[in-house]
Symmetry: C2
C-alpha cells in the first residue's frame, strides 16, 4: 500500500552537505500501524515529510495506493493526494495563530468543498474526540502546549484520511492525554482500517504498533515485528 524505495535526502548548504536519508526502503501494508523510532537527527521527520508528499527525495521514490507521489509534478494533483489521503500531525504542530482551534481543525475540509455548517460539525466532533471541545473558540496562544498538539491531531483526523502520518504526536502530552490519543489512533486503525505511520521515541507507545522501524543516521537498521519487539522490551 505504501512503498518506499531507496529514498535519499541530501541537503546542500553552502559548504556543508548533510545526508539526512541514505537509501531507505520498506513497505507498509494497508491497515498496518507502524512506528518509526530513532535518535534525534536520524531522519524521521524528513522521511515522514517525503511520504506525506510535503518534500521530495533526492533519489528514490514513494508510492502510496499505487500513485508514485514523488513523480507527480502537478502541484494541484499532489495537494489533492495529500488532502484526500493523508492526515498529517506535525512535530511542531503548525497551527495558524490567528484562527481558533475550531477554524484550524476545519481547514482540511475547505478544499473539499464541505459546506460551512457541516465543516463546523465535523471539526467539533474531532475536537471532542481529543477532549478539547471546551477550547473550540480559543486561539493557539490561549492554549497550553499539549492542548495545541491535540488540536493538531484533531485537524489530522477530521477529514477521515486513509493514512495518518504522525510526527511525535505525544511529545508534549502527559501519560493520560497520550493514552487518549493512542486510543483514538487505535480505534481509527482497528475499526476504520486507517494505515498509520507514527514517529515516536516513547517506548510505551510501541505496544499499539504492528511493527517498529528503527532509523539511525539516515538508514533503516532494523525492522521488528510484534513478537520481536515484545521480546526486546521485556528486557527493559
Amino acid at each position: 500500500f505504501i512503498l518506499i524505495e531507496n529514498v535519499w535526502k541530501i541537503y546542500k548548504m553552502d559548504t556543508i552537505v548533510q545526508e539526512a536519508l541514505k537509501g531507505v526502503s520498506f513497505t507498509v501494508k494497508k491497515g498496518e500501524f507502524v512506528s518509526i523510532m530513532g535518535p534525534s537527527g536520524s531522519g524521521k521527520s524528513t522521511l515522514l515529510n517525503i511520504i506525506g508528499g510535503l518534500d521530495k527525495p533526492s533519489k528514490g521514490y514513494v508510492e502510496v495506493a499505487g500513485l508514485r507521489i514523488t513523480e507527480v509534478s502537478n502541484d494541484a494533483e499532489l495537494s489533492r493526494y495529500r488532502n484526500e489521503m493523508i492526515g498529517f500531525v506535525f512535530q511542531l504542530f503548525y497551527l495558524i495563530p490567528r484562527y481558533t482551534a475550531l477554524q484550524n481543525v476545519e481547514l482540511p475540509l475547505i478544499p473539499r468543498g464541505v459546506p460551512p455548517s457541516k465543516r463546523r460539525e465535523m471539526a467539533l466532533k474531532a475536537l471532542k474526540i481529543v477532549g478539547l471541545e471546551g477550547k473550540a473558540n480559543s486561539k493557539p496562544n490561549q492554549m497550553s502546549g499539549g492542548e495545541q498538539q491535540r488540536v493538531a491531531i484533531a485537524r489530522a483526523i477530521v477529514g477521515n484520511p486513509k493514512v495518518i502520518l504522525a510526527d511525535e504526536p505525544t511529545g508534549n502530552l502527559d501519560s493520560k492525554s497520550s493514552e487518549v490519543i493512542m486510543e483514538v489512533f487505535k480505534k481509527l486503525n482497528k475499526e476504520l482500517g486507517v494505515t498509520i505511520i507514527m514517529v515516536t521515541h516513547n517506548l510505551e507507545l510501541i505496544w499499539y504498533c504492528d511493527r517498529v522501524i528503527r532509523l539511525s543516521d539516515g538508514k533503516v537498521i532494523k525492522i521488528y515485528n510484534k513478537e520481536e519487539y515484545e521480546e526486546l522490551l521485556e528486557t527493559f
Copy 2:
C-alpha cells in the same frame, strides 16, 4: 531562595474566564532540583513563566533571592533579573528563525556587554555540551525538532544562570539525548549549585530530582520528597 505565595492566574477572554492557577504556594531551596508534573492544561507553563518574570500573576507574589519579582514595575530591572539570574528553556523552543544556532545561543550574553569573540567562545562551548557543535552555523529550519530543543537548552545555560527554569526540555528528544541533557542539568546542579525547576511528564526523569510538585487543575495537590516518590514509582 524561591518563594511562590498564593499565586493565581486568571485569563479573561470575552465571555470565558479561565483560571489557570488557583492559589499555588511552595518554596524551593537554593541548589535544589525540583520537578513540576501534572496533566496537560494543569498550569505548569503558566507557573514557570510567572517564576521566570515573563508573566505577572493575577494575585499573590513570587520572590527570588529576596527580590519580589512580581512587584518590580521597571521593565529594565525585570529584564536584568531575568538575564542575570534565569536560564529559561521554553516548551516550544522560540529560537529566532533567521539566526544560526550559534547566534541564538549568544543572545543572552549581548545585554551583558560580553565582547563578540568571548560570546562566540561561550556559545560554542554550550553547543558542545549539548552535542551540537556541528550545527553551530545551521538555522532552525535546517535542524530537527530535537536539535532545535537542544539549541534552546544551550541558550539557557550559556550565561551561567543561578536558576534554570526548563519547560518540558526533553519532549522532542529520544532517550539518549534526554540522558545527555539530564546529565548536563545534574552537573550544573551538583557542581555549580544551580537551582533547577523542571516541568516534565516523563516519569523517567524524576530520579534526578530532590522533590516532585504535582499540579492538577491549577493547584498543588501533592509535594513528594525523594523517599516518597521512589516508593510511588516502585509500584509502577
